[in-house]
Amino acid sequence: MSRLSRDEVAHVAHLARLRLSDEELTTFTEQLGQVLEHAADLQSLDLTGVPPTAHPFELRNVVRPDVVGESLDPAEVLDAAPDAEDGRFAVPRILGEDL
């Protein structure tokens, strides 16, 4: 893998909704690059045919019955919200994206 670039870090920061100053961008690019370089030992391994493990133990088919339980008190829920109006969570205007 080639070395991590500033542009890549800036892109990743955008995907993660983080804003970085120029100085932070330099520092993070350097630090993340070091960690990824350390991870280069994985890239050199031939793991063809090795299945990935996403879960340490393979449980299956864990389900719950379709029975209605308690919901939270809306007053308590909305009280925790930074902004609420008319029983709903309020957010500032949304630019672009979905309609």
Partner: protein, 470 residues
Amino acid sequence: MSAIDLAASVRRGEVTATDALATALRAIDARNDELNVFLHVDRDGAEARARAVDDAVASGRDPGPLAGVPVALKDNLCTRGVPTTASSRILEGWRPPYTATVVERLVAAGAVPVGKTNLDEFAMGSSTETSAFGPTRNPLDPERVPGGSSGGSAAAVAAGMAPLALGSDTGGSIRQPAALCGIVGVKPTYGLVSRYGLIAFASSLDQIGPFATSVADAALCLEVIAGHDPRDTTSLPEPAPALVDHLDDGVAGRRVGLVSELVEGADADVVAQVERAAAALEAAGAQVVRLSIPELRLGLSAYYLIAPAEASSNLARYDGVRYGRRVAADELGAMNEATRTLGFGDEVKRRIMLGTYALSAGYYDAYYGQALKVRTRMIEAFRRAYEQVDVLLGATAPSVAFRFGEKTANPLAMYLSDVFTIPTNLAGEAAVSVPFGTGEAGLPIGVQLLGPGRSEARLLAAARVLEVAS
């Protein structure tokens, strides 16, 4: 007084839970300003719980196996109506509307939660220095870190502020601070303890476990919190295992493997204590062999891709919309970004970006995908090792407690302090850190006992042997 002795006294009516709580609160008041162990002390809640235990005792009802035992909770465990921050600005002021399963189980067993302890922000760190609310100091040497990420919980027990504490261990966050603070810490098998109500860092690695001053106390606490929980899909189906009953099983006839990769690069004083522990186990009747598991060397790299990847997704919910802090802006995207930029510290940002990168189009296979395969390799390597031996032995941390700032400038150096503990998390298996001897500056050293999934009884019995020999 140990948790077991205290609970016995409370159950017999010799000590009231209220008095036991007062003792704990005095210890907290004496040193919390200096050590920054508790972020929040829930005096009213704890007093009410203690009174309820005393009422039960007075009226002849069973107050539970942990009757009146004050417990410290890592502040990434949700407690209804009690501030829960994960040591992050982004959750400052949040009071969850629900309680974690483990806390419910502790309370049902008569324990008295006294408050919420400091941690590395979202459990990301190995020194408790990344907390947004200042570092916790090691009670044994306030110039040094208590380890992390559960540094506050470890320090609470080490400082006598509570006989028991809960922490969470994603890559060593219980065992490493237990080692650095000279107490016992258990990382249970993945799924043994419900994660419901544990603020997620890396879901496939996180496990809640106990801190205690003795192996027996840790065993009792683990018995109380373990067992299937229908609210956690990944919870193992069986009830809690019997642990206390097996504490004196010893190690006679057990095969113990001293793993070279689990001492490699550790300070000489640490290596010396691991060797001494091997000798102690041998003296108690175990057969000690030396073995190498080269795959363990890959653990750190795999972990620092898998854990950040999961974290990047787990922490996406902190966006200023539903709870916690919001930094205002006139447009949603800008609000999300400002909230997260000011709400998260640098270590959390680093891991979110690392994880986002590892999962992103074009890099997934090379990083995250490859790490998952390494995880398979790791599990297979452990399985082969456990065909030869019953328990693995190694160091918990490469050194005794280090000084503040020693590793903060270089994230990779900090990550390396988890090198011996990470493989257990990747494999979803069990491990215990037990204090064994001292090293530099008379500071405690922890040795680590590792076993396959569901081997807690075996590991605690071995730990008990070392505790006695220590």
